[in-house]
């Protein structure tokens, strides 16, 4: 294993632990928006999709690579856009009701 891989493992452990602790504080009434927000975050795999597609385009099988790479980009982007947008829609609902009440 290279140094970068140890660093990645370290980052993984820290991010997981801190994330786990923070999510503990999220009230259960926000668990649905939290989950759809997590959907959006799991779309971060778009970074890998972009990288893979660009690499494949420069490789020896550019067409196959491009097709599958684009598929990954589309899917990941649906997650990012759809996830954040629907989460925003729900959280705005929570906001609106509060203002009406005041």
């Amino acid at each position: 294993m290279d140094l970068i891989q140890y660093i990645l493992l370290g980052i993984f452990v820290v991010a997981t632990t801190v994330g786990y602790m923070l999510i503990n504080n999220v009230p259960s009434r926000l668990h649905t928006p939290l989950m759809s927000g997590m959907n959006a975050l799991s779309g971060v795999t778009i970074l890998g999709a972009i990288l893979a597609t660009a690499t494949a385009l420069a490789g020896d099988k550019p067409v196959t690579g491009y097709i599958f790479g684009s598929l990954a980009i589309i899917l990941a982007m649906i997650n990012v856009a759809g996830g954040f947008s629907v989460t925003n829609r729900m959280l705005k609902m929570f906001e609106r009701k509060k203002e009406e009440d005041e």
Binding site: I11, V26, M35, T55, A56, V80, K97, K98
Partner: protein, 520 residues
Amino acid sequence: MSNIMLLNISAADILSDPVYYALCVILSMAVLLGIHLMSKVEKAHIGNKISALAIALGIIITLIKKDILPVWLIYPGMAAGLITGLILAKRVKMIEMPQLVALLNGIGGAASAIVASFAFLVLYRGNELFGKTTASLAIVIGMITLSGSLVAAGKLHKILTQKPVILPLHQAAAVSLLIIILALVSLGGFFNFVQPSLLLLGMIVLSAVFGIIFSVRVGGADMPVTISLLNSLSGVAAAIAGFAVTDILLVSVGGIVGASGLFLTQIMCRAMNRKLLDILLGKTALKDQKSEKKEKDEKNRKVKQEKAEQESSARQQEPEEKLAAGKEKAEKDRTAETEITEEDTTTKETEPDDPMTIIRNAKHIIIVPGYGMALAHAQHLVKKLAGTLVKKSAVVKYAIHPVAGRMPGHMDVLLIEAGVAFEDVYEMDDINDEFKEADLTIVVGANDVMNPAARNAEGTPIYGMPILNVDQCKNILIFNYDLKPGYSGVDNPIYDRKDGVWIIQGDASVTLAEILNKLQ
């Protein structure tokens, strides 16, 4: 990579390695900050925007750092995904959130599996054990997430049956499949003699099959656990794919998602008093012996209220499906439901009070909504009823059980959408002591979450499950579709209580409207 780098050297120069790594750490922290802000309802929307911004910046710095900015071929895909995602988010109804989340879990898993497949094929020629193993694992987890989520979404969307499907030798098949998959993963890591594309295909197909086997046997009420778990897996797949392609942001953000999903899964398991392994291994609440018991109890009830049973016997098999069948049927049943309502109130004539008097005089009311309310689309009526009662200067609160609905927090979102103020919505632990002081508890489409059998009926699936203390309330008004046991198959003793319990059977959207009419 080197070819691309020639295209634009200057862009990458802006981001030297230390700057790029620092930015990755900052963006990861921004995502954590976004999640931290989700702990307060008032700040949650800011948190969401910060997370969104972090991912957008993450995409941009990746494009710059890896010199992909001028590779215009990647942009059509991004645009297509963006538009599809936005349309999906705009069109989805709040009651459909569980299936949307399930679908997005699957999509995320699929994307990670594809990314990992690229890494797998590129790395295969080398002796990179770490890279190959992580790529294989990401493919496997991503594909399990994809097929498992599609099955879950299909069940939630009622395309597939909601009942657990148990195949012959289900458990044995699942375990042996898992062993074969793990064997393939280690094969990919340690040996180079197998055709890489064959190995890849094998992992993809077998993992997909495993995902289906795992998901088909999960029944309706176990869905919150399943969705949370798949949510976690979609993050884990992304993180492991991040290891394979050596991307810091992918690893950190994927790890955060994985941890959060795991945490929610634990909460759900605790709230249902189920072990995660039992749910995964398909030890569902619906077992033969229980359905026998159910039938026996059904018979007992028939004596008690033959007429009501007759009315509903035609619909007994699948109450949920029928309930959702819509207004048309509800209207048709309207006369029948009225009869039941009247009969119910007349049989209770010996009681000193009738439910209407109780409702009119109650000053402290707790409403317990369950998934039945959502199925009957009765949340607006519930809110209306609460509004009417508040006008009569009553205090009305909502009590939500953690596993009410089909995903964590689903019931809250539905109530908020109907216009209920979130300050009036209480979590179980915050309101459970109030039931004994309240004048009246109104239950709408909930059963297992308030079943006192959970406290003492040892050996039943719900034993030990924390419940809402509805039974401690002196007056309980229940709007349920029927008196059949809930998903757990355990009878609810509240139904047999003599004093202070009024049960109004039927479609809550009809029965609630009637009560509302009488009140006004």
